[in-house]
């Protein structure tokens, strides 16, 4: 489903506003460089990996596991990301190769 131009614009504005808020908040809250509350410091350390894990699951939410093709294309592409990352540590290479592999798998193989 595609949103109407008005809905699209509103969504983009909300995203832009909240993003700017997260970037500007520290400069408003701590103008003198005061130290952070420990709980906030803790969230700053643990939230990013947890949210990234959530986003990986979010991306894979339409994977079909219980019937054909049993999530095989996703598993193979993820394995490629993992092995390439271990081997070369190159973000763009990982993304490029695994995406092309996935596209070939879902378009031509499965």
């Amino acid at each position: 489903m595609t949103l109407t131009p008005l809905e699209t614009g509103a969504t983009l504005l909300v995203l832009a506003g909240v993003t700017l808020l997260t970037r500007a908040l520290p400069f408003w809250l701590f103008p003198g460089g005061r130290t952070l509350p420990p709980y906030i410091r803790y969230l700053g350390r643990v939230l990013p990996p947890a949210i990234m894990g959530m986003l990986v699951v979010y991306c894979l939410r339409d994977t079909v596991l219980l019937s054909y093709p049993y999530g095989i294309p996703e598993a193979l592409a993820l394995l490629t990301v993992f092995l390439l990352y271990r081997w070369k540590r190159n973000t763009l290479l990982c993304i490029g190769v695994s995406t092309v592999l996935y596209m070939v798998l879902v378009q031509a193989v499965f």
């Binding site: 595609t2 969504t11 970037r23 990996p49």
Partner: protein, 253 residues
């Protein structure tokens, strides 16, 4: 600070450009992928341009492609808040550096992406250059690459209509790579097994909670409950750790 007249290209811009070359590669590539992905969902170059100019947040924009499938402003706001929470901490470590950047400061704050942040952390301002103009040059060059990449991607998906089925994996791959990087950063592989499990708990909680919430709430609705449960679980984890530390160390106040 000298007040010479601004000449294009300024010495600050000349010094900044080579430092941004890795970001040029990365942003053209990822921006392009964003444009193509957006195009595959029926959105054109204008949406792509506006998103990359105004939102200018890589990971969030990829999630936004999905968010643009259903109109839900509250979900969009909360997802943006959680995905961008890390920016709060970039800002905190930039308080010192941005002090005294004057009229450039609002833009420097607006454009503080992961990659630009990494450039600020990468090295000091070359001697003899104005710090504010140097940082500003790094910032707008990166922004320009990102916009250029995404508009080119939109144009490509429109000019060369190719079979885009499966292109959405670009997003999965991006997040997985970031996740793997964070995983490695959380604990050295030489650390004791118990310490490693402990260090990876936040990542495991994120994946685990989402996997439970997905079938419970369904594909369109599980993000909000998942974010809430993740936040609660992480808070409970900290509470439990503090209690443990207190009981181990009777001298702790």
């Amino acid at each position: 600070m000298t007040h010479r007249k601004y000449k294009f290209p300024s010495p600050e811009l000349r010094a900044a450009f080579p430092r941004t070359l890795p970001i040029l590669m990365g942003y053209l590539f990822l921006g392009f992928a964003f444009g193509v992905l957006l195009g595959s969902r029926g959105y054109g170059a204008l949406t792509s341009f506006l998103a990359s100019t105004l939102v200018y947040a890589g990971s969030l924009q990829f999630v936004a492609v999905e968010l643009l499938g259903q109109f839900n402003l509250l979900q969009a706001a909360l997802v943006a808040l959680m995905v961008n929470a890390r920016h709060l901490f970039y800002g905190l470590s930039m308080l010192e550096l941005f002090r005294g950047t004057g009229r450039y400061k609002p833009y420097l704050i607006f454009s503080l992406t992961d990659e630009t942040y990494s450039l600020y952390c990468a090295g000091p301002v070359p001697p003899g250059l104005r710090e504010d103009r140097f940082l500003f040059s790094l910032a707008w060059l990166d922004h320009l690459y990102w916009i250029a990449g995404s508009v080119l991607g939109s144009a490509a998906s429109w000019l060369i209509p190719f079979e885009t089925q499966g292109i959405e994996f670009v997003m999965t791959a991006l997040f997985t790579v970031i996740f793997l990087g964070q995983w490695e950063g959380a604990a050295p592989r030489t650390a004791a097994r118990k310490d490693r499990i402990h260090a990876h708990l936040p990542a495991l909680i994120g994946v685990g909670v989402s996997l439970v919430c997905l079938p419970l709430f369904g594909r369109d609705a599980f993000l909000l409950p998942a974010m809430a449960v993740i936040l609660l679980t992480l808070t409970a984890l900290r509470w439990q750790q503090k209690r443990k530390e207190a009981s181990h160390d009777p001298d702790a106040s």
